[in-house]
């Protein structure tokens, strides 16, 4: 039996998979009909029972998040889907939405109904024109079909869904920054408390969920909590999309139960590119501390990865082989955090400014061994001192790479420059 469990991805290979016809042909929107006949609280309980946890990185139990919304408070409630997929290495939501946007629309209908929201938003990053087209068309078609708008499915419930398109800011993946951005402000994180469940969008109770979390809901409703629970590990239930990229023979999306290992995925993917060895990898995007070959058998679930010193994050498995200079890789990520720091707090805004300079000097052979101590001290002054997790994330590649590859940093100092040939790392290196 396959180790893979395609649920979200089950019908992606149909050429018209993104159309409403194809989605319905494959049983789509039946879960919404079923859900709308249920008591909203029972729906929340169902999602709680399924064990579904947030797929955007933090892994917070989805049903519990829904349960935080005060009921009977006579306030508008909002559902906001976080489709601002921007964490380096993360590439699951965009292909999902390009291939099957309707599963998200159906998930939105169910989730909005469960939390008694009449208004839902999908906040999608702006740099994906075609994904925007597909999703906007799916929403329009769902309106036409009577699945959105007034009296959805003839049930008397009203659910409006607005696609909000971002404009290039990684920080808007942080849920409170996303809300500020959606309200028409610069996307900077908000002070918490109050938490979005109490005062989110327009200061009203709001649930913010990742695309994959909401997209998982129709299948849970259709197949039941037990079915979902049957996949995964003790505390990390269900299946999820693992995104494999980098120096592998066959990169791509692998939908598998939580707890699968990188070794198993690499076997499926035909291994590291021929003639090369695994050097380091990220388990869940660049903000999660690096792993090396010694972590090949770490179960890729929330607990397993945490126990090994990193985070499951977005399950973005970026694979780098021995041709890759770790200092160059870390410098580039650090430049990314500097570019994306929102500027609100001192440690992140100022810290990334200096981290980049020190790493650039090191990469160019202009650094010294003392710079390593300086890097670690700066990371100590950023990690846990910043306003939000962006600053923490910026330190992850640095501290973890120094932990595993200190000698390589030193080699940049003593050898007066980078000992690697960058050309050898490229996809087209061998073709030349």
């Amino acid at each position: 039996m396959s180790k893979l469990t395609p649920v979200l991805s089950a019908h992606w290979d149909q050429k018209d998979s993104f159309t409403i016809d194809a989605y319905k042909r494959n049983g789509g929107y039946a879960a919404a009909v079923k859900a709308l006949a249920m008591d909203p609280d029972a729906l929340i309980q169902l999602v709680k029972d399924s064990g579904l946890r947030g797929r955007g990185g933090a892994g917070f139990p989805t049903g519990m998040k829904w349960g935080f919304i005060p009921q009977g408070d006579n306030k508008e409630h909002y559902l906001v889907v976080n489709a601002d997929e921007s964490e380096p290495g993360t590439c699951k939501d965009m292909p999902l939405l390009m291939a099957n946007p309707h599963v998200l629309v159906e998930g939105v209908i169910i989730a909005a109904y469960a939390i008694r929201a009449k208004h839902a938003f999908i906040y999608i990053r702006g740099e994906v024109t075609h994904v925007v087209r597909r999703l906007n068309k799916a929403i329009a078609d769902a309106y036409k079909a009577g699945y959105l708008g007034k009296n959805v499915f003839g049930t008397g419930h009203d659910i409006d869904l607005v696609l909000h398109i971002g404009a290039g800011a990684y920080i808007c993946g942080e849920e409170t920054a996303l809300l500020d951005s959606l309200e028409g402000f610069r996307g900077q994180p908000r002070l918490r408390p109050p938490f979005p469940a109490i005062a989110g969008l327009y200061a009203r109770p709001t649930v913010v969920n990742n695309v994959e979390s909401i997209a998982a809901v129709p299948a849970i409703v259709a197949n039941g909590a037990e079915w979902y629970q049957s996949m995964g590990t003790e505390k990390s239930k269900g299946a999820t999309l693992y995104s494999l990229s980098g120096h592998v023979n066959n990169p791509g999306q692998f939908e598998a139960p939580l707890g699968i290992t990188l070794r198993e995925i690499l076997e499926l993917a035909g291994g590291i590119r021929n003639g090369h060895q695994l050097k380091f990898w990220t388990p869940g995007g660049s903000s999660t501390p690096l792993f090396t070959a010694e972590h090949l058998d770490v179960p890729l679930d929330y607990e397993g990865v945490a126990a090994a010193g990193s985070m499951l994050g977005t399950k973005a498995l970026q694979i780098f082989d021995e041709t890759t200079c770790v200092v160059r890789a870390v410098l580039r990520w650090t430049e990314f955090y500097k570019h994306e720091s929102c500027g609100k707090c001192t440690p992140c805004r100022e810290g990334t400014w200096w981290l980049v300079q020190i790493l650039r000097d090191l990469e160019e052979g202009k650094g010294s061994e003392a710079d390593l101590a300086k890097l670690l001290d700066l990371c100590d002054n950023i990690m846990g001192r910043s306003f939000c997790a962006l600053g923490d994330g910026a330190t992850s590649p640095i501290t973890s790479s120094i932990k595993y590859f200190r000698d390589e940093y030193i080699a940049h100092v003593t050898g007066a420059g980078c000992p690697f040939d960058a050309a050898k790392s490229t996809l087209f290196a061998e073709a030349k």
Partner: protein
């Protein structure tokens, strides 16, 4: 200011505002809309948005400078973004960017003299399994090489760019793409493939029982 508000369609702007329960939320799609008309965020666009949303011009300007997709000076008709985040950079993005700069004779954030192509290094664009990735007007060009990227910009300058890898059958212009990002329908949603090979890899293996 040389341009006039007459090209900004009030009906469209009001329809964008009407999407939201509170009108300030419309600021981002309105800025995309201004770019779809002018190719960048103009002063008149900022002033009109401020008037429509009943906020200060400084508040609109503040938002427009926060997000990298909003440009305060003219972009090329084809805006090329080369991903140089770590994975793409290492897989070839750095080489591609360097060669495009040389090929086009412009620096990062530059525009060719003919106004056809602008170039920008971009961060991770959520297509890592297709690395190295180049975006043209925010459409995907997957698994790029120096040669394919040069062919893209050459085609763009000649007025016949190759179609995106995962996108519609032709590459739309920056202004046309901006209209899509303003939430306006260009009727191209059903063009192009539903998924590339990496996207389908896991499903294929599962079906093969692996």
């Amino acid at each position: 200011m040389t341009t006039t508000n007459s090209v900004l369609n009030m009906e469209i702007m009001q329809s964008i505002i009407a999407r939201y329960p509170r009108k300030r939320s419309a600021i981002m799609p309105l800025l995309h809309y201004v770019q779809s008309v002018s190719g960048f965020v103009t002063n008149e666009g900022i002033e009109l948005i401020a008037t429509l949303l009943e906020i200060e011009t400084a508040e609109v300007s503040a938002v427009s400078t926060f997000y990298t997709q909003y440009k305060r000076s003219a972009t090329g008709e084809y805006h090329i973004g080369v991903c140089t985040n770590t994975l793409c950079a290492i897989m070839g993005g750095d080489v591609i960017l360097a060669s495009l700069k040389e090929h086009l004779g412009i620096e990062n954030d530059g525009v060719t003299a003919d106004g056809k192509v602008s170039l920008e290094h971009i961060e991770c664009n959520a297509a890592c399994d297709y690395a190295p990735v180049v975006m043209a007007n925010w459409e995907f060009y997957d698994n790029q090489t120096v040669e394919s990227a040069k062919a893209l910009v050459d085609g763009a300058r000649a007025g016949n760019p190759p179609a995106p890898t995962r996108g519609p059958n032709r590459l739309v212009t920056f202004k046309e793409a901006s209209a899509v990002l303003a939430g306006l329908d260009d009727g191209l949603a059903e063009e192009g493939i539903q998924a590339g090979i990496p996207t389908l890899l896991g499903l294929k293996l599962a079906k093969e029982g692996k």
